[in-house]
């Protein structure tokens, strides 16, 4: 069990007890005692107490380290001076490789300390490659530790409707995927969009400043149960029922298991689904923009 760039003890407090290290399994009758946990992070967080091996690395050295690990598992040479710069001696890396190879079933959970620092998607790609290549020795998987509620759900639904999980453009009538060009943050920072519908997110609190400035400039519509940072700079805020509390629906757990939600309360507000459905019906009554749709060519 490797946690990389995450702090599950504080950010995913039930992860240890419900899913990973504490549970007893068919081949892990003794629960925690049968498992080895490694934590890789840039600082000693409370999660380090739970770990058998804590590896403190220098910030922004994840990609270098994972790439070195990929070489080491294949018995290839690495440059020792360059490895030392990551904050770990080569012996520690070799110890980690030995532990990984000795495992019967390994899993790497990677958090935002990895995917949101310099290198971004390539850091995640490195972990995924490492896990894929470890399968030459033993069973290994990698899984991202998601930060917000139901991000996995958005990815899963986008994937089965368009074929791509995120960064999808449908302007030409068919899905095109190009993160960096079509991902939300890039579109907003470059000012490439002239309207924005925000659903279950608060970009006003998390985006870089140029993106927030652009959100304030264009017509932004927010659907949220509460007033968020984004609502303050939006033209329209539509209050909706809180999903799981007063609106039913399905959420996807981090491991892509769909979980149905039953509302406990009644809300005077419409659900997100109802609002989007009504917007969609109103849009449908407008003429199509693509030539050949509805038999009309619209310029």
């Amino acid at each position: 069990m490797i946690y990389w760039g995450g702090n599950p003890a504080e950010c995913h407090p039930r992860h240890f007890t419900k899913y990973t290290i504490m549970q007893k399994g068919k081949y892990t009758q003794n629960g925690r005692k049968d498992r080895t946990m490694v934590l890789v992070d840039i600082r000693e967080t409370p999660s380090a107490k739970a770990a058998n091996l804590f590896l403190q690395i220098r910030p922004g050295k994840d990609f270098e380290l994972i790439t070195a690990l990929r070489a080491l598992i294949k018995g290839q040479r690495v440059n020792e001076d360059a490895v030392n710069e990551t904050g770990l001696p080569l012996s520690k890396l070799e110890e980690l490789v030995a532990k990984m190879k000795a495992a019967r079933f390994g899993v790497i959970f990677f958090g935002m300390g990895l995917s949101m620092t310099r290198g971004k998607h390539m850091n995640s790609a490195a972990v995924l490659m490492l896990a894929a290549e470890m399968n030459a020795f033993t069973k290994f998987v990698a899984m991202p530790m998601r930060g917000h509620g139901n991000v996995t759900g958005a990815d899963v639904v986008m994937r089965y409707t368009t074929g791509y999980p995120f960064g999808v453009n449908l302007c030409r009538g068919y899905p095109r995927f190009n993160p960096g060009e079509f991902s939300t943050v890039d579109l907003l920072v470059r000012g490439d969009v002239d309207a924005c519908l925000v659903l279950g997110a608060d970009p006003g609190a998390t985006m870089p400043q140029p993106g927030i400035d652009h959100l304030a400039k264009i017509p932004t519509i927010v659907l949220d149960p509460k007033v968020t940072h984004t609502s303050r700079l939006a033209r329209v805020h539509i209050t909706t029922a809180a999903t799981g509390v007063s609106a039913p629906g399905t959420v996807y757990r981090m491991d892509e298991i769909p979980l149905p939600l039953r509302p406990a309360l009644k809300s005077p507000y419409p659900t997100d689904e109802e609002v989007v459905r009504r917007i969609r019906e109103a849009v449908k009554r407008r003429p199509a923009w693509l030539p050949g749709r509805n038999g009309k060519a619209v310029m």
Partner: protein, 283 residues
């Protein structure tokens, strides 16, 4: 020569893959003006955004296609086209000159011809190109000559010359061809490179040559290398003499005499047989 002048800045990016010599050649003035471009989700006419120069009828035969194909395949674009994407997509011949900036996907998948940009270009310049020449006088964005997401190989031939700096993942998964960058490139230059040559005259930021399989990266400035690269020797590569001679004809000078090249090989994480040559001037 056909002159296009941007008269109105698009509010959202304009997808204009029809600004391409292959499309324009043989068309009448009216037909060129009516070419479809995509402004966001809306299909528009080319002349809604560009003034199409009249000069294109060399012999004054209005309504007739251009007789001289060599002239009809030359395009000159004026104005800040930094939001005009896909200029010269898949072009096979002719010439495009952008006086100003160019947007994303400039000359992507091109198989011939020449593109010149006097200002800056954006991401994905010459992505997956097969042949031809792209010359950017200013800066370029990321993914120059790269493979699109999910695609196995980037540029398979041709030349990209960039005067200024370039962004992330320059030459990602490139297979053949030459990219030369005058300024500094950002992280992941030559990422997963499969072949070809990347010449970095101004050096690079970090993680150069990450996961490279084959190919050559030449840097004239000392660069930071990944732990998976190892030093092999210091030498004068004879093939580089031929490259230098070729590049000199394109206006790029790389030193051969008065120093040596340090050769690093990697990336052992694959393991790959790529090489990074770092220039060491004789002290």
């Amino acid at each position: 020569m056909i002159t296009l002048t941007l008269k109105q800045q698009p509010t959202v990016p304009l997808e204009a893959e029809n600004i391409c010599p292959d499309v324009v050649a043989g068309l009448t003035h009216d037909a060129v003006r009516a070419l479809p471009v995509y402004h966001g989700k809306r299909q528009c006419r080319l002349d809604e955004f560009f003034d199409v120069g009249q000069a294109f009828q060399p012999d004054g035969q209005a309504g007739k296609p251009n007789l001289r194909t060599d002239e009809a395949t030359e395009l000159e674009i004026h104005g800040d086209c930094s939001r005009v994407k896909w200029i010269g997509r898949g072009m096979t011949r002719g010439r495009i000159k952008v006086v100003g900036n160019a947007g994303m996907h400039l000359g992507s998948g091109m198989t011939g011809g020449v593109i010149e940009v006097t200002g800056n270009a954006s991401d994905w310049v010459g992505a997956e190109m097969k042949d031809g020449l792209i010359r950017i006088h200013g800066n370029a964005g990321g993914q120059v000559g790269a493979a699109y997401r999910g695609s196995l190989a980037g540029m398979a031939g041709g030349t990209i010359l960039i005067g200024g700096n370039a962004g992330l993942e320059v030459g990602m998964r490139m297979k053949r061809g030459i990219i030369a960058v005058g300024g500094v490139v950002r992280d992941f230059a030559g990422l997963q490179m499969k072949g070809g040559t990347l010449v970095l005259l101004g050096g690079a930021e970090i993680r150069t040559g990450a996961w490279m399989f084959r190919g050559t990266i030449v840097s004239l400035k000392p660069i930071k290398l990944l732990p998976t690269f190892s030093y092999s020797c210091e030498y004068e590569p004879s093939f580089l003499r031929i490259y230098a001679k070729h590049l000199r004809t394109l206006g790029v000078t790389i030193p051969i005499d008065g120093g040596m090249y340090q050769r690093f090989t990697g990336d052992t994480s694959l393991p790959g047989k790529g090489e990074i040559l770092v220039w060491q001037a004789q002290s």
